[in-house]
Amino acid sequence: MSAQLRLDAVEAGYGDLVAVRDVSLEVRAGEVVALIGSNGAGKTTTLRAITGLLPVRRGRVEFEGERLDGLGPAQVVARGIAHVPEARQLFPTMTVRENLELGAARRARRRRSDALDLVFTLFPRLRERQAQLAGTLSGGEQQMCAIGRGLMAAPKLLLLDEPSLGLAPVTVKLIFENLRAINARGTTVLLVEQNVARALELSHRGYVIENGRIALAGTRAELAQSGHVRQAYLGL
């Protein structure tokens, strides 16, 4: 089966700094793929390059066979990719509901209310808190709100940047169960994580990124058994 998302020798960075040197990867429709690596390895930069938040300086990004590099974030989102950014980036002085609705701002009103129902089914907590200001939610609820906001655009591909960041283990477990349910509904997921054990548990395949390059790729089982991954990322 051909890839839904394909990155081919992508280079991206900030000013003189090249954060991603040579990243090639593939995500097939319906998969959960993990992109793992340590701080500063280039995980977030890769996601930002896919979404058009950072220009792709070299190489190419394709989504469903069409070039994505060179497009702005608005066009990328319109093609069916939603990005749940690192540290949530909610609008703290807006309510939960307003945050969610902004995720579907480009869609028709009726489709928006369907999407809202789906998000509330997945995250009943958000339904209870819909009138509350997003800034007053707990960390876990904020992450749910951020993921829900991404889902409001009814994406084919969901990009998640460190959804476990700063959350208690029990909350992380809950969030990852939600992600599994989202994937089971047919949404492809590209997951950036430092919590490698959790990420591999959820994923079909994974890539290890080091110093802006893909150092290792394989199925969940292959990565979990790799001596390098076990030593460097799982601490075994």
Partner: protein
């Protein structure tokens, strides 16, 4: 709330019948600066893009309508839209330069100030525009030429302008456009990541804002019968435009209006009383102290605080 607004409107409509001529003048200034503040509020408040050069749009709008009237005999009732359109073109240029190249915060402030200053210097040095002396409009008292014997006509026009700008701001607030602008103001990066076309909506806000501000330029010209480059294009004018929404609450519908009801009479009366007692310029000190107080104690403006107090009173049994 709705009934309160309607009642306030009825009072304002009836008020000129009982007010002295001086009081009518103060209300005209309240409405006019609230109008300019509301126009600024669309880009500066809702979208959070601090333009400190809105005087440029007043200048372009006023000079255009005055020139068209003086040179071609075109009635300002039409010329005002030509002036507003030109102001919007300038707003589009400033907005595109600022937003396309990602100027934020101070850099955008400086860009807007620079454009207003260029306008001031240009108007001061172009003889066809009256140079440093500015343009004078011959008083005819002909309503078809936007001129009125009776001060109260200006009162109603200024009130209508204020209602127009407030209606536009209200419509924006209720639509997706308003939600986009709020998202841009709160966290532009996050708005962008959600797929909001931030350049487009900031630009649109700038166009609407500069158009309305330009419309106000015509009122200014034909209310005062003169346009001086330093007065209309100058930094003090830009500051006057910004102060009211900031004091009243930027990004709120009633903020610019409340701000103008606070600041305009204060400015006028303190100028009058301090001037009478020979303390020329002391009104600026009073003004300055008030601003420091607002920034320290009401950083989000007076309206959000007032709205919360009212909500609490209503919630009480």
């Amino acid at each position: 709330m709705r009934w309160g607004g309607l009642a306030a409107l009825l009072v304002l409509l009836a008020l000129p019948a009982v007010l002295s001529s001086y009081a009518v003048t103060i209300f005209i200034l309240i409405f006019f600066y609230a109008y300019l503040g509301q126009a600024w509020n669309i880009v500066g408040g809702y979208a959070g893009q601090l333009s400190a050069g809105h005087a440029a749009f007043v200048g372009v709008g006023g000079y255009t309508a005055a020139m068209l009237s003086n040179e071609l005999g075109l009635t300002p009732w039409v010329g005002m839209f030509a002036g507003a359109a030109l102001a919007a073109v300038l707003g589009g240029v400033i907005g595109y330069l600022g937003f396309r190249f990602g100027l934020r915060g101070f850099y955008f402030v400086l860009l807007t100030v620079a454009f207003a200053e260029v306008g001031r210097i240009a108007a001061s040095n172009i003889d066809a525009l009256g140079g440093a002396l500015g343009l004078y409009i011959t008083f005819t008292g002909d309503p078809r030429q936007f001129q009125f014997q009776d001060n109260r006509a200006y009162y109603y026009i200024a009130l209508a302008l204020l209602l127009l700008a407030t209606g536009v701001a209200w419509a924006i607030e209720r639509r997706r456009f308003g939600a986009y602008l709020a998202a841009i103001r709160e966290d532009e990066g996050a708005a962008e990541a959600l797929g909001v076309d931030t350049l487009r909506y900031k630009l649109l806000a700038m166009l609407v804002s500069s158009f309305l501000t330009g419309l106000g330029g015509t009122f200014y010209a034909f209310y005062l019968f003169s346009l001086q480059p330093n007065a209309v294009f100058g930094i003090p004018m830009s500051v006057e435009i910004i102060l009211r929404p900031i004091v009243g609450g930027a990004g709120t519908l009633l903020g610019p209006i409340l701000g103008s009801f606070i600041l305009t009479p204060l400015g006028e009366l303190s100028r009058f009383y301090f001037g009478q007692s020979g303390l020329y310029g002391a009104h600026l000190i009073a003004y300055g102290l008030l601003l420091i107080g607002v920034v320290l104690f009401l950083p989000e403006g007076a309206y959000p605080r007032l709205a919360r107090a009212l909500a609490r009173r209503r919630a009480r049994p």
